[in-house]
């Protein structure tokens, strides 16, 4: 989302600050992420949704269209569609067309696998579709270490196809890691080459990201480097308000955006089976608000889910209450704390005051993932020993 905090309208009658109103939640989300499928041709090490295999309970085309109808009624202006790799759904383009025909704009994230010259031409003809190509290194070496062999070439080919077709202002979406934080200028140059806009977001320890976060997240020094880059160069870079945990590093307002955790207040996530979570980085039972199919529709879940009502209450500052930065960072990212095993009412693991470092060194229990759609394990496929002749009795072959 590109938020232009414009229209600084006069304060005719005193109203609470916009951010305070957002903290109490709106009648409909401002933006919503919809993971259409857990199926993916890649297996990125930091995948937020632990994607790989399709969930057999995946919503049908008709069920997806019903949700789009509901989003139109709620005036949700647009959805960020992701996955998995959303374009591998056979009905993907049908759903995109249906959404845009119903005043629900679409921005979709893709690794580029299906962005052929033909598809790029079709996309260039629509005013209502925005494309975001994921890339986690400005070079194949850095990118492919995270996203898999050949994924850099695939993404660049997609960008070329879009540019050749006259699609303007595609987004290049980068998750900032220890290994690519020095490439920010190169990413910006890459975006400029394809007439695209750079979007950078924070590495979250969610999904498979929990397994690699310790090694991949930017060091304390790099956080400062990132902040300085954003303040100096960030006016043409999108961040999705991703780095609000860094806002305490400088003057209030130096970092563009609302600097607010919008989970369950102004954003949420719909997963491929219709489960609604508080935010895209919180796919876990702890942050599951309800299911669209079994809990009376999206509108009902958004407005009445106990979890969302709880998130819209004033939150405790806890251990951060006495910190001078609390007003700017608000304790940081709930999901980052939860998945690193830190208390929710304490400092963010990447706290700018450095409180996250001792907290991470203490004994902590990372939550067990509540869903994993990975195709294999990090160690590679598990070799199974199969019997060469039929078992004597049915139960002689261990089911595990």
């Amino acid at each position: 989302m590109t938020v232009t905090d414009t229209a600084p309208a006069p304060e005719v009658k005193p109203v609470p600050r916009l951010v305070e109103q957002f903290e109490h939640g709106l009648d409909a989300p401002i933006c919503l992420t919809w993971e259409l499928t857990y199926a993916c041709n890649l297996a990125c090490v930091h995948c937020l949704s632990s994607s790989g295999k399709r969930d057999p309970r995946e919503l049908s085309t008709e069920q997806c269209k019903d949700i789009i109808d509901e989003l139109q009624r709620m005036q949700v202006f647009y959805v960020n569609i992701g996955g998995g790799e959303p374009t591998v759904r056979p009905d993907f383009w049908e759903l995109v067309d249906y959404a845009t025909a119903h005043q629900v704009g679409v921005k979709f994230s893709t690794n580029g696998v299906r962005i052929t010259p033909e598809v790029a031409t079709k996309l260039a003809a629509s005013d209502y579709v925005d494309v975001q190509i994921s890339l986690d290194g400005a070079t194949a070496e850095v990118n492919d270490a995270v996203r898999g062999k050949g994924s850099f070439a695939m993404a660049v080919r997609a960008l070329e196809n879009l540019a050749d077709a006259g699609f303007s202002d595609a987004k290049i979406s980068v998750v900032v890691t220890r290994h690519n934080v020095d490439q920010l200028d190169e990413f910006a140059a890459l975006a400029a080459r394809y007439g695209a806009t750079l979007r950078i977001t924070r590495l979250r320890p969610s999904g498979r990201g929990a397994d690699v976060w310790d090694e991949l997240h930017p060091t304390q020094e790099q956080q400062v480097q990132l902040y300085d880059w954003l303040v100096a160069r960030g006016d043409r870079v999108l961040t999705g308000d991703s780095f609000f945990h860094l806002s305490g590093l400088g003057a209030p307002g130096a970092l563009a955006g609302l600097n607010l955790c919008g989970a369950g207040r102004v954003v949420c996530l719909i997963d491929p089976v219709g489960d609604v979570y508080a935010c895209p980085f919180a796919i876990h039972d702890r942050f599951l608000a309800g299911n669209i199919l079994s809990d009376g529709g999206f509108d009902n879940v958004w407005k009445n889910a106990p979890l969302f009502r709880e998130l819209r209450e004033p939150q405790s500052a806890g251990a951060c209450g006495s910190c001078g930065h609390y007003d700017s960072c608000r304790g940081g990212c709930m999901a980052a704390k939860f998945f690193t095993g830190l208390p929710l009412d304490g400092p963010d693991p990447e706290c700018v005051e450095g409180w996250g470092v001792p907290a991470l060194e203490q004994e902590r229990v990372k939550p067990k993932p509540s869903g994993d759609h990975s195709r294999g394990t990090k160690q590679g496929p598990v070799a199974l020993t199969l019997l060469t002749k039929p078992p004597a009795r049915l139960c002689n072959e261990s089911p595990v």
Partner: protein, 91 residues
Amino acid sequence: MAFNPEVSWRLHHQVAVRPEPFGALLYHFGTRKLSFLKNRTIVDVINALNDHPDVRSACRAAGVQDAEQGPYLHALGVLAESKMLVTGENS
């Protein structure tokens, strides 16, 4: 281009307005930009634009007299810069 309140301005046809307790959200499907209208009077002004030949009379219709129009004209000017509002034959 300077914002001229003596002529007619309209919401761009690709802009949607969602009423909110604090005012409204504006979304431009073409530029994919979101803006906030931070009070209800400015929403009333924008809703009045369609029925008035110029911005100043739309302001008056929303209860904002000429002497108080400065901040509203500024806000509308910002919206015009981001192409949320268009003038004359551009709409």
